[in-house]
């Protein structure tokens, strides 16, 4: 059983047990345009909620990807290094960035659900 939440910085996070998978939203991928490069965190790195965890670059922009929740990075999607296009093709699936072990579930609960995020994007 998994649940997906969203941030106002356009990250999504899926929680399965205490493992969180993080990526950027479809909206963010569309705004960035063709992704050409991602820089991923190493497993073992500890990062607080809102901390810089990864970088995503298109031809015209470079953006930090923030950790939606605090915890320890357990894995990174190294397939993106060779094929950054996956971020555009399947941002909320195969284009995930990293997984982390969540330290505080309350942080997750505070994030937007899909409906709230859709509303948020409409208001931009």
């Amino acid at each position: 059983m998994s649940e997906v939440r969203f941030t106002d910085q356009h990250e999504w996070v899926r929680l399965e047990g205490d493992e969180a998978t993080v990526g950027i939203t479809r909206h963010a991928a569309e705004q960035l345009g063709d992704v050409v490069f991602v820089e991923l965190p190493q497993a073992g790195r500890k990062v607080g909620a809102g901390g810089e965890a990864a970088v995503v670059e298109s031809v015209k922009a470079a953006s930090e990807v923030y950790a939606p929740v605090g915890g320890e990075v357990t894995a990174a999607n190294s397939a993106l290094e060779a094929e950054p296009a996956k971020v555009n093709e399947d941002p909320e699936g195969a284009g995930w960035f990293f997984k982390m072990k969540l330290s505080d579930k309350a942080e997750f609960a505070k994030l937007m659900d899909a409906a709230a995020y859709q509303e948020f994007v409409k208001g931009l």
């Binding site: 345009g33 063709d34 050409v36 490069f37 670059e57 031809v59």
Partner: protein, 522 residues
């Protein structure tokens, strides 16, 4: 009568479509050039030199073992190659080059000739003092022009470009703050600033705090003042700003900045609008770089070299970097070491080896002497007049985000007029290429959606401006009329169609490499 039926036909015939591929890949005067690595080979050279043998006794055991891998070409091949390449470039000499923020004005050839006089072009930077008096006198004269035009007491000449000048100014500010025994780490930068401003502030070890722009394109002076505090070292403000507007509240801003104990850095990229009319020193500015390659016409050269001397106020003059130019009874002298400093001098360090972009100094002074103070002022006025003429002539068909003007030396438009047309700023710019123009600066400043920043400079005749205006009007009307085909595929008539920047960035190929050897047949 005698008949000659062997001669060539003299009728032009019927023009055919020009999409027939050629056998060569070239098309008339559009000539392709392969890479030198693909045309070069062994056993040929473009320079005749004797084949001297040397032994290894004085080479420290590190004589080169393998080849470098450079191709060999004869002189005619090299000339043909680079002439062909040159013809794939747009240039100010060939047409109007309205790149906002870049000041693509005419580059007088006299300046090139002067910089190549052996006394300047063939002068060693560490030649003895007696052998360099003319060069030092030239630098001194240029310094006098720069300090007089800006109303500032001092100038640091060594910065090699605008961004290097920004760094020089901020390092002087850092030294001044430290000399007061204070810790100030924050620099205020408007969101409309050139990217070099925040990058330089970070480079110089400061943190960057953005100041918003007001809806009328001016910096929000109230927001700026509210952000001032005991940890603010300086503000970096471009004036005239990147929206092409003069910051009318600048004197008031300067007073507030100084009252808060901070310094006022001005990005002088747009000095061409006000040179000879307004002295930055009168506005309360503490440091400003001057892009000699913009305002004073040293050629851009396809991306440098530039030169970015920095004028400094009384409060910062003592911190100017080495070397310092001084004069005494024996003439001019460069002070290159801290032990020889004149009283009060506290240089923060050194920006680069030697003494700055001398080749650019000669060109800039040649430009200044040619113009004189009257010509410098007239040039600024003509630049501002031409930009306003473009704004006035296009504002009914394009959209000017900040109303009816006046603007300074650049006219800013946004993409509101393209709304619903399916044509983007990028498409519009690329269509200009087909019309024989270099596009304007696009998507900058960031505070305007789909920005198009047009800087005609003073170098265009009225006829040239009218023609440019007519073309932009035509394009705007076609875009609004939904004729997208002119824009979507543009450019059609350039040496290349649109290039795949995504592919270039995803799998970077940054140098030529020989093809891998073919696999030996089994």
């Amino acid at each position: 009568m005698s008949m000659n039926n062997q001669g060539r036909p003299s009728q032009p015939g019927v023009a055919q479509d020009n999409d027939l591929p050629t056998i060569s890949g070239d098309r008339g005067l559009d000539l392709e050039a392969r890479l030198i690595f693909e045309i070069g080979r062994g056993g040929v050279t473009g320079v005749d030199l004797p084949d001297v043998k040397v032994d290894d006794t004085r080479l420290g055991g590190v004589r080169r073992k393998g080849a470098v891998g450079l191709p060999g070409l004869s002189e005619p091949e090299v000339i043909r190659h680079y002439v062909r390449l040159s013809r794939q470039n747009y240039a100010i000499d060939a047409g109007l080059y309205p790149l906002g923020s870049c000041t693509m004005k005419h580059n007088p050839r006299l300046n090139e000739k002067m910089a190549r006089l052996p006394g300047f072009g063939d002068l060693h930077p560490l030649a003895p003092r007696a052998a360099t008096q003319g060069a030092l006198a030239l630098i001194s004269e240029l310094m006098n022009w720069l300090t007089t035009l800006t109303g500032m007491p001092a100038v640091a000449m060594s910065p090699k470009a605008g961004a290097h000048g920004e760094l020089c100014g901020l390092l002087a500010i850092r030294a001044a703050v430290e000399a007061r025994g204070e810790k100030r780490n924050r620099i205020l930068v408007p969101e409309s600033a050139h990217g070099t401003n925040p990058a330089t502030a970070a480079f110089a070890g400061f943190t960057v705090d953005e100041v918003p722009a007001k809806p009328n394109g001016h910096v929000d002076a109230a927001a700026l003042k509210a952000k001032l505090g005991p940890d603010v070292a300086a503000i970096m403000l471009t004036n005239p700003n990147t929206c092409g507007l003069f910051e009318g509240e600048i004197v008031e801003i300067a007073k507030a900045v100084h009252a808060a104990g901070a310094y006022f850095y001005c990005d002088g990229a747009n000095f061409n609008a006000i040179a000879g009319r307004v002295r930055p020193g009168d506005l309360g500015i503490d440091a400003m770089h001057i892009n000699l390659h913009k305002t004073f016409s040293t050629p851009h050269g396809g991306g440098g070299p530039g030169a970015g001397p920095v004028v400094l106020s009384e409060r910062l003059a003592a911190y100017a970097p080495l070397p310092l130019l001084v004069s005494d009874a024996n003439g001019f002298r460069l002070i290159e070491d801290r032990d020889e400093l004149p009283p009060g001098a506290k240089p923060f360090g050194r920006m680069c080896a030697f003494h700055g972009q001398m080749g650019m100094f000669v060109r800039a002074l040649s430009y200044m002497l040619s113009h004189g103070r009257d010509g410098v002022r007239q040039a600024s006025e003509d630049a501002v007049l031409s930009a306003n003429y473009i704004l006035a002539s296009l504002k009914d068909v394009m959209s000017a985000p900040f109303g009816d003007g006046p603007c300074m030396h650049e006219a800013l438009f946004d993409d509101t007029f393209l709304e619903g047309s399916g044509v983007t700023t990028l498409d519009f710019a690329k269509a200009m290429i087909d019309e024989g123009y270099h596009p304007m600066t696009m998507y900058f400043p960031l505070v305007v959606h789909g920005a198009m920043l047009i800087e005609p400079t003073e170098s265009e005749s009225k006829e040239s401006l009218d023609r440019f205006i007519a073309v932009l009007r035509g394009l705007a009307e076609e875009a609004k009329a939904g004729k997208r085909e002119r824009f979507e595929g543009a450019p059609r008539y350039a040496p290349r169609r649109r290039l795949d920047e995504t592919a270039a960035a995803r799998k970077p190929v940054l140098r030529w490499k020989p093809d891998p050897l073919p696999q030996a047949a089994e």
